[in-house]
C-alpha cells in the first residue's frame, strides 16, 4: 500500500501543514495569551507569577463594570428582538411584493452594512444630538434608547439578508396548500412561512445579539455618561493601564460570544435535521 497523498489531500503536504500551523498561531495566540493572563497573579501583565481568580472576584465587585455589562446585555436583547421583527418583515416584503423603487430600497437596505462604522457613529452622534435629541436622564432602560436605535439600524439589515436568502428556497405552493386547507393568511404565515424561516431567524438573532454586544465604535458615539456599555467601559479601563482585570473582562466577553455561536450552530443543525 502506498502512502502517497491522493491528489486532493492537500492537508497531508508539509507546506500546507506549516501554513495551517502559522494561521492558527497568529489567529489564536493573542486570544490565548489574553485569557491566560487573566489568571496571572500580578499587577502588571508581563511576567507569569502564578494562578489566581482574584481579578474575576474584583470584576464582579466592580459596580460600574457590572452596570456596563447589564447595559450591554439589555441593549443586545432588545436590539435582537427589534432587528428580527424589522429584518424579517423587510425580507418578506422584498420577496413577496413587486412595487416601485423596489431595487432602490433593496440597495439602501444594505447601506448600514457597507458604510464605514466610524461614519455611522458620527452620523448617529449628530442625529441624536441635533435632529432627535435623546434625553440622557431618562429612567434606566429608556436611557438606552438611543444606543438601541443605533444598533438596530446596523443589525436588522443582516437579519433581512439572511432571511431573504432563506425565503428564496420557499415553495409558494406550500403557503397555497395551507390556504386551501382552510388557513387564513395569518395562519398560513404562522404555520408554514415562519417554520420555514426559522433557521434564518435563529441565525439572524444570534448575529444581531453578538454584533450588538461587541459593538464599540457606534456605541462610543451614542453612549452618554450613564449609558456606558461593556466594550466602552473596557476601553476606558485600558486607557489607564492594561490590568489583568481588563483581561478578565475581555475573557468573559469572549466566552459569552463563543457560547452564543455554539448555540446558534446547534440550533441550525437541529432545524436542518428536522
Amino acid at each position: 500500500m502506498s502512502d502517497r497523498p491522493a491528489p486532493l489531500e492537500y492537508n497531508r503536504l508539509w507546506p500546507m501543514r506549516l501554513w495551517l500551523a502559522g494561521v492558527f498561531f497568529f489567529l489564536y495566540s493573542p486570544l490565548i495569551t489574553l485569557i491566560a493572563f487573566s489568571f496571572n497573579d500580578s499587577k502588571r501583565n508581563i511576567v507569569w507569577r502564578g494562578f489566581t481568580l482574584d481579578y474575576y472576584r474584583k470584576l464582579f465587585n466592580n459596580d460600574e463594570l457590572m452596570l456596563a455589562f447589564a447595559n450591554s446585555l439589555t441593549i443586545a436583547l432588545v436590539t435582537t428582538i427589534l432587528s428580527l421583527v424589522l429584518g424579517a418583515l423587510a425580507a418578506i416584503m422584498l420577496w413577496r411584493f413587486r412595487f416601485p423603487l423596489k431595487g432602490v430600497i433593496e440597495g439602501t437596505l444594505s447601506l448600514p452594512i457597507v458604510v464605514p462604522e466610524i461614519c455611522m457613529g458620527v452620523a448617529m452622534l449628530l442625529f441624536f444630538s441635533r435632529v432627535v435629541p435623546w434625553p440622557h436622564d431618562l429612567p434606566w432602560p429608556l436611557s438606552l434608547g438611543a444606543i438601541i436605535i443605533a444598533h438596530v439600524s446596523f443589525c436588522f439589515p443582516f437579519v433581512a439578508m439572511v432571511v431573504r436568502a432563506r425565503l428564496a428556497s420557499f415553495n409558494k405552493e406550500q403557503e397555497e396548500a395551507a390556504r386551501d386547507l382552510g388557513a387564513s393568511d395569518w395562519q398560513a404565515f404562522r404555520d408554514v412561512l415562519v417554520p420555514h424561516m426559522k433557521p434564518a431567524l435563529i441565525a439572524g438573532a444570534l448575529l444581531s445579539f453578538t454584533l450588538s454586544l461587541d459593538d464599540f465604535v457606534i456605541t462610543f458615539f451614542t453612549s452618554g455618561p450613564n449609558t456606558v456599555t461593556f466594550p466602552v467601559k473596557v476601553y476606558s479601563m485600558v486607557r489607564f493601564s492594561v490590568t489583568p482585570e481588563v483581561n478578565a473582562a475581555s475573557t468573559m466577553l469572549i466566552v459569552l460570544t463563543v457560547a452564543l455561536m455554539a448555540l446558534m450552530m446547534l440550533g441550525q443543525r437541529k432545524s436542518n435535521s428536522s
Partner: protein, 384 residues
C-alpha cells in the same frame, strides 16, 4: 343515441357541481383563459388536457380561489364563488409539487386542515387514521416528509386534501413528478380511490395517455379555449378538429377535396394518395367541393405484401382506401411495431401492427415496397 339520451337524463337528474360561465382570464395583455364555459357533474373524474401553457392550471386555480376571473363566474354547487378566498371554498387541491409541509410529520400534515377548523382532538385523530388507511400510509404516520418516497409524499397530499371531505378534489399534474412505472400504478390507484370516496375529481394533465386511462370525461384545451369535450373514446375516435386528432394519440393526416357526397357514400380525393382516393360508406361533413382533412389512426391501417394489383378492401369500390409506398423505418416498441411508409408523393404514413406472435408469419423489412389499406369506416373527416 342511447348513450346520449342517458347522458341528457343524467344531466337533468343532478345539477352540475362545477360551472364555469364565460370565464376569461387575462394577465396583463395576455389572455390565459378565453371564454370557457363548462359544467362538471357530481361524481365525474374530469380531466383538463392540453399542451403546456394552454391555461389548464389557471382554470384550476380559479376554481380553488388562487386567481380571480377577469370576466365570467365560477359556480361551485350552484353558488357563485365571486372573490371567495381559497380557505372558504368547498374544494381542496393536490399541488403539483405536493407541497407537503416539511416541518410536520405525516399525521400532522394530514391533520392540518381539521386543526385549522378547530375540530375536537379525538375526532381529528380518528379521521386522520381513516384518511391514512385510505391511502395506505398508516404505518408511516410518524415519518417526516423527507423520509418518504415521491409516491408516498403524493399520498400524503391526497390524504391531506381528502380529509376535509371536499365537494371536489382538484389535482394539478398529480403524476408528473413520478417515474414511469409508478405513474402507471398510481393511475389505477387514483381511479380506485375516486370510486371509493365518490368525490368529483378534476385533474389537470398534459399527458394524453393519462387522461385517456383514468378520466371519465376530458376537456381538451387549446390556447385558453376548450377545443373539444367528451369521453376518452369520443375524443380518440371522433376528434372534432385537426388539433384534437393530432394531440390525442398519433394520426396520419391528408388534405383533400370532397368530390362526391351522397347520403350513404362519400369520396375524397387527396393529392398525397393519388391515383387512389378515400371512400366512406357514410356521408361526410361539408358539401361537394369542400376542402377537408382526412385523419386515420396508425392502428387502423393494414400492411400488405407488394403485388401488381392493390388489395381489395371489403365494402369498397376498387382503387379506393389503398396506398402504395416503401418502408423507410421500423420502430420496434415491444408490444407493437410502427412502420413508416413513404408514399410516392413523399408523405410518410405511420402504420402500427401489434406483435401478436413471437415469430412473424408475414415479414416486412426495411426498403420493402408494400400496400397499405384501411376500412371505409376508419377515416375521420375534419373541416378545421
Amino acid at each position: 343515441m342511447d348513450q346520449l339520451a342517458q347522458r341528457t337524463q343524467d344531466a337533468a337528474a343532478h345539477k352540475p357541481i362545477i360551472s364555469f360561465r364565460n370565464i376569461v382570464k387575462r394577465f396583463g395583455s395576455m389572455t390565459a383563459v378565453d371564454n370557457v364555459s363548462l359544467d362538471i357533474m357530481p361524481g365525474e373524474f374530469f380531466a383538463l388536457l392540453g399542451p403546456s401553457g394552454c391555461g389548464k392550471t389557471t382554470l384550476l386555480r380559479m376554481l380553488a380561489g388562487f386567481e380571480v376571473p377577469t370576466e365570467g363566474s365560477v359556480l361551485i354547487d350552484g353558488q357563485d364563488m365571486g372573490e371567495t378566498p381559497p380557505n372558504k371554498r368547498p374544494v381542496n387541491m393536490v399541488f403539483q409539487s405536493y407541497a407537503v409541509f416539511p416541518h410536520m410529520n405525516v399525521a400532522d400534515n394530514v391533520a392540518y386542515g381539521l386543526k385549522i377548523d378547530g375540530l375536537p382532538k379525538d375526532e381529528i385523530k380518528a379521521r386522520v387514521q381513516e384518511a391514512l388507511d385510505l391511502v395506505q400510509l398508516g404505518p408511516l404516520a410518524a415519518r417526516k416528509p423527507d423520509q418518504l418516497s415521491g409516491g408516498q409524499r403524493q399520498r400524503v397530499a391526497l390524504a391531506r386534501a381528502l380529509i376535509k371531505r371536499p365537494k371536489v378534489l382538484l389535482l394539478d399534474e398529480p403524476l408528473s413528478a413520478l417515474d414511469a412505472k409508478l405513474r402507471e400504478a398510481m393511475r389505477f390507484e387514483l381511479s380506485q380511490l375516486q370510486q371509493k370516496v365518490g368525490i368529483t375529481f378534476i385533474m389537470v394533465t398534459h399527458d394524453q395517455d393519462e387522461a385517456l386511462a383514468i378520466a371519465s370525461r376530458i376537456a381538451v384545451m387549446h390556447k385558453g379555449a376548450i377545443a373539444q369535450l367528451g369521453t376518452p373514446s369520443d375524443l380518440y375516435e371522433f376528434p372534432a378538429s385537426r388539433f384534437v386528432a393530432d394531440f390525442i394519440g398519433s394520426v396520419n393526416m391528408f388534405e383533400g377535396t370532397l368530390i362526391k357526397d351522397g347520403a350513404d357514400e362519400a369520396v375524397i380525393a387527396c393529392p398525397d394518395l393519388a391515383p387512389y382516393s378515400v371512400h366512406l360508406p357514410h356521408s361526410a361533413p361539408g358539401s361537394a367541393g369542400a376542402s377537408v382533412w382526412v385523419a386515420i389512426r396508425p392502428e387502423k391501417l393494414n400492411l400488405h405484401k407488394n403485388a401488381s394489383e392493390p388489395p381489395a378492401v371489403p365494402d369498397c369500390p376498387p382503387a379506393h382506401n389503398v396506398a402504395r409506398g416503401e418502408i423507410k423505418e421500423i420502430s420496434y416498441l415491444g408490444d407493437s411495431s410502427i412502420f413508416h411508409v413513404q408514399l410516392s408523393s413523399g408523405q410518410l404514413l405511420r402504420v402500427s401492427r401489434p406483435n401478436r406472435s413471437r415469430y412473424e408469419q408475414e415479414h416486412f423489412g426495411w426498403g420493402d415496397t408494400v400496400w397499405v389499406s384501411w376500412a371505409g369506416s376508419s377515416p375521420v373527416v375534419l373541416l378545421s
